[in-house]
């Protein structure tokens, strides 16, 4: 049993999905989803500790077919770190989904909703675990197709969900196609699709133009999927008009998985030594990352719809992960992993809290929350802490990622970039402050609807808040895990921590 864990966590949600679609009746499909995601979460935690204990890469061969002929699942320090993020967020979002979905989705569609929900989680888990480049594409499509459907389900309340989903579908498909074109080139050059095998054979053909083109296609496709500026336009409407539960799930996981796949392919397959990669990926990603950080932050400052506001902020935060990747160093990658992890927690908290408000009030705008601090203090405090973490205030998880990101840049003597990164992240204060001021320092307008909160509404968000604070106060194990993950791709230099 234990040796099958790497496949079980993907298989469970995948197999549960058709059952969820068939189940009728209130809460039955939800219950199945809840149990499945819970199990997947437990398995990924077990895998994390198992991998930490043995300290080396665990390879699971599907049907006992050895690589490169068979497909392998790889649990190394990197995938072991990202898996619990996805399944954990999936689990907590499922917990919150019970109320959110009941409020926002037609009761007839619940079964289908949870079927798509499980599929998208399974797809993401698969992308992280698999050691086969084409298998990544398959899982990418599984998770994306179900995500398009999930976004479109927002149409019951908000018709704008349909164009948003369509946009997302077109751009997502373009991204996936680019990825698969790059993959085709690689297969043509090397005759293999196994990631480890690819990494071994690529150096023999690395001077060819085809190899470079393959890298460019793959990177570009993934930039689109991870919503790197300026390829981010699909993200904001998709997040804003999707059902609230879907926003919470996707904002914390979907783009993160693409960041992970980008790291896995660029560093794990092509490697930092690959000719031209420092310019084509390093410099480009740094530039786009910092530009995205500013564009996202500034857009968030002027935004009044809270879902859009935090979606814009996600563009900025993805920019920081990109900057970590672009630094092309172990510290930079560790910072990217740290922020991938931490940002999932804080955005999860924020979108879960905002989702609860949106489910009640129909929308969550600056007007909806004005003076709401007195009516729903617990929910608004969760938003306050999430916001502080986004700024990177010490004792929140955001501080830790910011710290290592700036260190990674200063290590490479990127002074200007470090300054810009800091300035853009400090600008986050502007939109967080806007919310704090509206919530806590202004009176509730007369005639505004009365907002309520119950324990079941704020507990999911608060679980994420507690995690955000916990990983801000005691980050040592996480920092170690992030460096271990980074060292999978860039071997350690003595003394780094």
């Amino acid at each position: 049993m234990m040796q099958h864990l790497p496949i079980l966590q993907v298989l469970l949600p995948l197999l549960a999905s058709p059952f969820a679609a068939l189940l009728r009746g209130r809460d039955v499909a939800w219950g199945l989803t809840f149990v499945t995601t819970g199990l997947a979460f437990l398995i990924s935690i077990a895998l994390f500790f198992q991998q930490r204990a043995i300290g080396e890469t665990m390879i699971y061969e599907l049907g006992n077919w050895a690589a490169p002929l068979g497909i392998v699942y790889v649990i190394d320090a990197a995938s072991a770190l990202v898996l619990p993020v996805i399944s954990g967020i999936g689990f907590i979002a499922t917990l919150a989904a019970r109320q959110l979905v009941a409020a926002e989705i037609d009761a007839r569609d619940h079964g289908l909703f949870y079927a798509a929900w499980l599929l998208t989680i399974a797809g993401m888990m698969g992308q992280v675990t698999t050691g086969d480049a084409f298998n990544i594409f398959v899982f990418l499509e599984i998770s994306s197709l179900s995500a398009y459907a999930l976004v479109a389900m927002g149409a019951g309340r908000d018709r704008r969900a349909l164009p948003a989903a369509f946009n997302y579908l077109i751009l997502g498909t373009v991204g996936a196609t680019f990825y698969v074109i790059g993959l085709g080139l690689l297969y043509m050059l090397t005759g293999t699709l196994n990631l480890a095998d690819l990494a071994e054979r690529l150096p023999h053909v690395e001077e060819t133009r085809a190899a470079f083109t393959a890298m460019a296609f793959i990177a570009l496709g993934l930039f689109l999927k991870m919503a790197l500026f300026p390829l981010h336009f699909w993200l904001v409407p998709a997040y804003a008009h999707a059902p609230s539960a879907v926003t919470a799930l996707m904002a914390s996981t979907a783009t993160k998985v693409s960041v992970y796949v980008l790291i896995r392919l660029i560093f794990g397959v092509f490697g930092v030594e690959f000719p031209g990669i420092a310019d084509a990926v390093g410099l480009l990603v740094l530039t786009l990352g910092i530009a995205g950080a500013f564009v996202g932050t500034l857009a968030a400052i002027v935004e009044t719809d809270l879902k859009k506001l935090f979606a814009q902020s996600s563009i900025a935060q993805l920019g920081y992960m990109a900057i970590g990747i672009g630094a092309m160093s172990a510290t930079g990658l560790a910072a990217a992993f740290l922020h991938l992890f931490n940002h999932a927690l804080m955005k999860g908290a924020l979108f879960l809290a905002i989702g609860m408000i949106a489910a009640q009030a129909g929308r969550a705008t600056m007007g909806t929350i004005q003076g709401a601090g007195k009516q729903i203090p617990i929910t608004m405090t969760a938003i306050l802490f999430g916001g502080l973490a986004l700024i990177g205030v010490p004792l929140t998880a955001g501080f830790i990622s910011k710290l290592y990101l700036i260190r990674a840049l200063l290590e490479q003597n990127f002074w200007l970039l470090a300054g810009l990164t800091f300035i853009s992240s400090a600008l986050a204060l502007a939109y967080v402050w806007k919310i704090i001021e509206a919530t806590w320092l202004q009176p509730r307008p007369k005639g505004a609807p009365v907002l309520r909160e119950t324990a079941s509404q704020y507990i999911p968000a608060w679980i994420m808040v507690v995690a955000t604070l916990g990983f801000g106060i005691y980050a040592t194990p996480l920092v170690e895990a992030a460096f271990a993950a980074a060292h999978v791709f860039i071997p350690s230099v003595a003394g780094a921590n």
């Binding site: 010490p394 260190r407 002074w415 400090a426 005691y474």
Partner: protein, 478 residues
């Protein structure tokens, strides 16, 4: 008690006091009495810690490798803890008298946040590294916000926004960047005698990094980041005392000094000349604020600008980059603390006894409030730097430090500033004692004893500090 236990005591007593305030919210005398009592104990503990040799350290937790929340009392921190610890019980006693005398509402909430603010101040004073300091610095901002907006009316909320806005923004935008920058360059955030940056940073960047701290520490109220201080004048007078003397601005200049001495290092600043620009910015702040103070006729507003000016002395003491000036700056934290708290106590006493806030209405009041006005005069003389009062020593040492490094113009700045002090503080005393009352006043009409007692004690403190100055001079080497 061992130094470790004293650290726990100093951090814990204010928290205990705040908890007991909530517990005894329905028994006002018990609630207020315990706060004063715990304050007196903490003053004793601060004094004991001050006399112990340095070297103790206490780590609460480790956030990430090399990043800890820890407390390491060093001479400067112990001095600040002593200042805050001594003034806390006096301020609490005064607060009780004022709140009852002026019939303010919500005493429990007020006393609760007052005690939390003291806890944050102790955390700042004893912090062993920049991260710990930053955390408590932010805590102090947020715990004093409810005090500033205590009245809850439109004006108070508006002032609160300015207060929170400037302090939070400056600390997040500049100070936090400075902290992260220091960590990335030096690999540590610990306060170490002689600094941690020498050899770790290109001297070219020193002025810029110093600017992140000088302007990031908004609590030091260096112009042009001083606006929050006069804005906060809407708060009840005990808050002003807390802001100006015990906690907030003192925490600000203390942080500036601590960063200058233990992060940059005096010698490093002198070698690189990285703090020269700050001497002139501080000089400007000293003079400009004094001139603004002269134009204010509201007593508290005038005192607020006087504080902005006096804080400039301490920032300048760091920027002069000599051990003598740094010692003078440290002493000025204590001297100005004792002097300014007395002035605000007196302003509050005048308000409670006669409901007057404007200086032009205060003609002849000295004759009906002899104790209050005598205390005011003593404190004013101390701020001006007249012997035998505490302010004389610190100003003297600052001048000596300026001479050491050849800043002759600074001598002029300090003298002009003393002259300006004489004009705008002297006016109040002279009006009080010698001008004819605008309205009829009869007999002696002082504020309640709970207010008179603290203000006389702090006034005497200014006097005592002059004679016991040896005990409070910190040797920064050289």
């Amino acid at each position: 008690m061992s130094a470790e236990n004293l650290i726990y005591t100093l951090l814990g007593l204010p928290l205990l006091a705040s908890a007991l305030v909530l517990l005894f919210r329905n028994q006002p005398n018990l609630r207020d009495g315990q706060a004063v009592l715990l304050g007196i104990i903490s003053a004793g503990a601060a004094f004991q810690l001050y006399l112990l040799p340095t070297g103790a350290s206490l780590t609460l937790l480790e956030l990430a490798p090399g990043l800890t929340l820890s407390f390491t009392p060093e001479p400067l921190g112990k001095l600040f803890a002593l200042v805050a610890g001594t003034l806390w019980p006096l301020a609490t006693l005064y607060t009780i008298g004022y709140m009852r005398g002026a019939k303010e509402k919500n005493h429990t909430r007020f006393l609760f946040f007052y005690a939390v603010a003291i806890h944050a101040t102790m955390g700042i004073a004893l912090s062993g590294n920049l991260l710990t300091l930053f955390v408590f610095y932010e805590m102090l901002t947020f715990s004093t916000y409810p005090l500033v907006t205590h009245k809850g009316d439109e004006a108070a909320l508006k002032a609160g926004r300015v207060y929170l806005g400037i302090l939070v923004a400056s600390s997040i935008v500049f100070l936090l960047f400075g902290v992260i920058g220091v960590w990335a360059m030096a690999g540590t955030l610990d306060f170490v005698s002689g600094g941690i940056l020498a050899g770790k940073i290109d001297p070219f960047y020193v002025p810029a990094l110093l600017a992140l701290f000088a302007f990031g520490i908004g609590k030091a109220a260096l112009m042009p980041l001083h606006r929050w201080l006069p804005a906060a004048m809407v708060a009840p007078t005990p808050v002003s005392a807390l802001l100006h003397a015990v906690a907030v601005v003192k925490a600000g200049v203390f942080t500036v000094l601590k960063v200058g001495v233990y992060i940059f290092g005096i010698d490093f600043l002198k070698e690189t000349g990285g703090s020269e620009w700050l001497v002139w910015v501080a000089s400007f702040s000293i003079l400009a604020a004094s001139i603004v103070a002269m134009t204010k006729t509201n007593l508290k507003a005038r005192l607020a600008y006087s504080t902005v000016s006096q804080l400039g002395y301490i920032v300048m003491g760091m920027a002069l980059a000599t051990p003598l000036a740094a010692s003078g700056a440290a002493l000025h934290i204590a001297a100005h603390g004792a002097g300014k708290i007395t002035l605000f106590f007196c302003a509050g006493a005048i308000y409670v006894a006669h409901k007057r806030t404007d200086i032009q209405d205060m003609n002849g009041l000295g004759r009906t409030m002899p104790i209050t006005y005598t205390a005011f005069a003593l404190a004013a003389l101390s701020i001006m730097g007249v012997p035998p009062l505490a302010g004389a020593w610190s100003k003297f040492m600052l001048m000596g430090g300026a001479l050491d490094n050849g800043y002759l113009l600074v001598l002029g700045v300090l003298m002009v500033s003393s002259l300006l002090n004489l004009v705008y503080l002297g006016e109040i005393v002279i009006r009080g004692f010698f001008a004819n009352p605008t309205r009829k006043l009869k007999g002696v009409q002082e504020a309640p004893l709970t207010m008179l007692l603290p203000l006389s004690m702090t006034a005497l403190l200014s006097l005592a500090l002059f004679f016991a100055v040896d005990l409070f001079i910190i040797d920064f080497g050289g």
